[in-house]
Symmetry: C2
Subunit: 502 residues, 2 copies
Amino acid sequence: MLRLRTAQSFRQNAASNLKIRLNSIRLASVAAQYYPNEPTKPELVTETIPGPKSQQLNEELGRKFDNRATYFVADYVNSLGNYISDADGNKLLDVYCQISSIALGYNNPALIKAAKSDEMTYALIDRPALACFPSTDYKEILDEGILAAAPPGMDRVWTSLSGSDANETAYKAAFMYQHAKLRGSMDFTGDELTSVMDNKAPGASQMSILSFEKGFHGRLFGSLSTTRSKAIHKLDIPAFPWPQAPFPKLKYPLEEFEEENHLEEKRCLEEFEAIIEKDHHTPPHGIAAIIVEPVQAEGGDNHATSFFFQGLRDITLKHDILMIVDEVQTGVGASGKLWAHEHWNLTTPPDMVTFSKKFQAAGFYYSNPDLQPKQAYRQFNTWCGDPSKAIIAKTIYKEIVKHDLVNKTAEVGDYLFQNLKQLAAKYPLNFRNLRGENFGTFIAWDCNDVGARNETLLKCRAKGVNIGGCGDIAIRLRPTLTFEKKHADILVQVLEDVAKEV
Amino acid sequence: MLRLRTAQSFRQNAASNLKIRLNSIRLASVAAQYYPNEPTKPELVTETIPGPKSQQLNEELGRKFDNRATYFVADYVNSLGNYISDADGNKLLDVYCQISSIALGYNNPALIKAAKSDEMTYALIDRPALACFPSTDYKEILDEGILAAAPPGMDRVWTSLSGSDANETAYKAAFMYQHAKLRGSMDFTGDELTSVMDNKAPGASQMSILSFEKGFHGRLFGSLSTTRSKAIHKLDIPAFPWPQAPFPKLKYPLEEFEEENHLEEKRCLEEFEAIIEKDHHTPPHGIAAIIVEPVQAEGGDNHATSFFFQGLRDITLKHDILMIVDEVQTGVGASGKLWAHEHWNLTTPPDMVTFSKKFQAAGFYYSNPDLQPKQAYRQFNTWCGDPSKAIIAKTIYKEIVKHDLVNKTAEVGDYLFQNLKQLAAKYPLNFRNLRGENFGTFIAWDCNDVGARNETLLKCRAKGVNIGGCGDIAIRLRPTLTFEKKHADILVQVLEDVAKEV
């Protein structure tokens, strides 16, 4: 038959075959395209991690810089894709990724190209005070990156430098918005103008930001006042007298505890509204905004359902309180949607959504133009963001779209979750409260106690998987968006090997 | 004679001539070496600045990003050395430099090389969580840059992301230090561990940071509580009930008011100590630290003498209060010393010195190892700085040393000051309270009123000089470290032309 084909049909078939092959490569492995030399499994060369070189370098660094939280000293030159290399030459499958930050994998070729571009060079060496002297291309950089990635219903952004900074600038926007509403068309009073210089009311606000038990929103003074994850984060630092509300404690597996969990979420919503109605809804002592994470990550990967979040949205709207969703850790694809709060299908979008980590660029999205204060120089600082990070974010977002990485992450997440479910059935004490189903690779579980959790983390590392904990007894997975089934298989195998030992 | 020379002596002479020529080029103009094509004077192509392209781009950007503080949209590709280009092609002599931030000039060749280096690429695309997974080269990057530049008596650094962030992490270090001292060898109490989760004492500190009237230390919640420059920066934002002390209001010319100024500084020191003794020295309500700028820049370029700063140091030592010097705007050479507080010749160095702007890299220096909290994860966050900015800082510092830019800035500053003094004699109402003598190019003066100040700024821009104000009626100079006599001559000429009109 082949010999009877016309040249044209042959060429068509070849092209079609090639297309199928390319598609199947694309479907099969974006990681293989990006990283043809990615290790196929962890490669261990020292008996312990950190090895001797890591330890020596870290000791030297420690004389100048507080590095007592160091896992190991990393060799980024020899890291690739989903594998991080350490100073000793060990190559570990990384499912922690700089605390949930590496979006595409180490030494991604598209990011190399962006880093070497002239656009990046100018952004780095002529760093602008963005709100005073924006560059001719800043709008385009935002349009093609950070703004193209904006959550549904949001078309504006205020850029900043970190998750804490993003949250605090969002808080400032909330306070200024609420006071502008109270003030109406009036000007600042003389009393406001003088009292504020002495840090006193009425010029200084007595309103508050409400956050949730176990929430984490950063470590600067305003954000730390809303952080409720661990005492060690907060001890000895002055804090604003702002309220906290309970966050649901769900029981797992969800299908078994549907009714109980629903009641728990109802209870939390009722307490939330009671707090608002009791102490915090009388000017000048009202709640300007609430801030909530789609998953309380640092606090232990605590999930809640759409019912709870829709309830928060309804109650905030009812009481004219703004709703800030903190997507610093959940944002940019890992949940199987670009923004985790898209899972909720809210009837009204949140007022602000903050981001950082996977984009490097940080800030908050919003749509209501009144969240931009009426006067200039109120939401303002020298940098107002960083174009070099906005270029990184743009590049990451374009790669995500090009390679359909959010859907791929949803798929591999489902695969991984089913495998972990089987492990949990086999080792129930090692994999308690497995959570994150249908939530991409944003998966976590509890260990039996803090000792078992820490032992598990260390043993995983010794077997070549870099993995992180959260809360008191949880393990959280935070792989890249190019984490695939082949990586999941290795992870699951290591987790099973460790489960046998712990 | 030439023909009688041996080849060797000819070569020696040629080499020697070349050396002399190179030295004289070096002495004459680092700017000419860096920027052979730097404009020789402002080049204006539109009738007004911002011109039509700037206005259009800015209007488009403004739909997505709060840019109402924009002077003009800048074209960084066509900016060079001390000249900033705008979107319309105007080239302005820049003595504002991204609010005191551009150290070497636009598109500096050494920075281009650093930006294009592999070191920079890895830093950008594999951005580490520095306290958990530092890179193998982070110590070296710090050693050769940020730490090599450390002020006298300081050998440690905590890196952060902005001036506000630098100050707030320094405050956190101060609070943790003071409470550790109070606590002695005891552990955290149960009461501390629970109360802090509710933002209450005793877990949350009731201590404070004292700052000075007209001081500026940033715009996040903790730093803003110490900022006392303008009401518009602070209105409607919650603030901690922290104290402020008076900052001397010196009269000029200094030589005329020596005794009066001395009394004013004595008065401020006495009031400062009275505040400490009255309300703020009884645990748990003490002052953890004071923060002070060598020159209150944002607040109006207010100077004080070494007598005042030595007095602050003595009083803080006497009362066990830490002294933080905020060199975010004054640091990195512009004052004619690398760190402006070196002008004071303090008998004991400050406890912490914060930096950002000209280095891009931000953070605080310190030497006392007890300023590193005993427990890990207290001074901590995801990024803990940014190696890409540390590489920029390293490159800038090496260039400063190589070209002796601090001493050169001291020289050109003296030249500029003498010229401005002559202008002030001619136009006394336009150049009131000229200040910054023997302080590099960190020079400022007052206009007659706010209207005259703003008119002067606009007219300077229209004549091709980008210049900034501060305080209510002041104009501040913040040129690069490659600003030379030839640039100073242009600046002085434009200032005189404008003075004739205002």
